[in-house]
């Protein structure tokens, strides 16, 4: 008795299935792109910039870090805090380690809050801004200046 149409020794025809698989694999290989894990940095909005005092320090003593093509300049709105400090370039690069050390020193000396204003010359690349934020964020497990308010300086861009 023959149940069904297929005979016992007959194999499945895999060629159409293989065709589909080959096409799919080629399509996926060509559309494959590198993806990397992302993190975020929250910026303080200008309206909330004055709330820096809520983080424990004195809001009048907010520090301003200016990134220029010559290095870093640290300013304070409070004259009782040292007026101006500079961290020159190390070779051709910005000296983030020296900046970090200076920020730790100023934070301890003047009991500054967690917020700081960051601004830069117009041509300074984004990469340098992020390096500065990273240097200013923490000192080991202790928060340094994790809340950053970006301020504009110099010529703006327009259409």
């Amino acid at each position: 008795m023959s149940g069904g149409g297929s005979e016992a020794g007959e194999e499945l025809n895999l060629i159409p299935y293989l065709d589909i698989m080959v096409n799919l694999v080629i399509f996926l290989i060509f559309s494959f792109q590198i993806v990397v894990e992302m993190v975020r940095i929250e910026l303080l909005s200008p309206a909330y910039g004055g709330a820096a005092g809520s983080s424990g320090g004195d809001e009048n003593k907010m520090l301003t870090v200016v990134v220029t093509n010559e290095g870093y300049t640290l300013l304070s709105v409070d004259p009782s805090v040292r007026g101006q400090e500079t961290v020159p370039l190390k070779g051709t690069k910005h000296d983030v380690d020296a900046l970090h050390a200076k920020l730790v020193e100023l934070k301890d000396m003047f009991h500054l809050g967690n917020a700081m204003i960051l601004t830069a010359e117009s041509g300074v690349p984004y990469k340098t801004i992020v390096e500065t934020m990273d240097a200013a964020r923490t000192d080991g497990a202790i928060d340094l200046f994790p809340d950053v308010l970006l301020a504009r300086s110099g010529p703006a861009v327009s259409q």
């Binding site: 895999l14 992302m38 990134v67 117009s122 041509g123 984004y126 801004i129 992020v130």
Partner: protein, 187 residues
């Protein structure tokens, strides 16, 4: 009586104490003529293709919150550990500014002016439309619009372009700004 059969092994006459020698048997070789080959065995190839396909599909179906990095959009690396939160995305590549992957302004169109009030009208229009869409979604019971914006920018983007984009977004109902960066791998 059954006659004893001849053993398969034979002793050499010149070395009667030596080990018996077996006669060499030729291993049969499978030589098929062209007419006898009926088809290739595709099972091994099928296995390989299935593994490749599963790997590629798994890699392709990535988290939607991830950003594809390429030569024109390589965000800087950061030591921040805050995980990404989804929001309206503005992307600044080496070519132009995009809102939700739609090109709004090319960088060639931009010029530098000595004014702090400068902003980008095309970008503002696109962001207002995006904010209105988010508010409509909220009105229909969707996610709440909190005015958050993600800024993804190429590592060489000049600072004045960044601040101009942020300023323009501030004029278009966005008030919370998040910078999206590549996670620095712990070594």
């Amino acid at each position: 009586m059954i006659a004893p059969t001849t053993p398969a092994t034979t002793f050499m006459v010149d070395n009667p104490y030596g080990a018996p020698r077996h006669k060499k048997r030729k291993r049969p070789t499978l030589i098929l003529s062209a007419d006898e080959i009926t088809g290739l065995n595709l099972t091994a190839m099928m296995d390989m293709m299935t593994i490749l396909l599963v790997f590629l599909v798994k890699s392709y179906a990535v988290d939607p919150e991830r950003i594809n990095v390429n030569e024109k959009l390589r965000p800087p690396v950061s030591t921040s550990t805050m995980e990404m939160k989804p929001a309206a995305t503005v992307t600044v590549t080496a070519d132009g500014i995009m809102v939700e992957d739609k090109l709004v302004v090319t960088l060639k169109e931009l010029n530098v002016k000595d004014t702090d009030a400068a902003f980008l009208p095309k970008l503002q229009d696109a962001l207002i439309s995006r904010a209105e869409l988010a508010k409509n979604i909220e009105a229909r019971g969707g996610a709440k619009f909190d005015g958050a914006m993600l800024l993804v920018a190429h590592e060489d983007t000049p600072y004045n372009i960044l601040t101009t984009v942020l300023y323009t977004a501030g004029q278009a109902q966005f008030s919370q700004f998040r910078l999206l960066l590549q996670k620095k791998n712990a070594k």
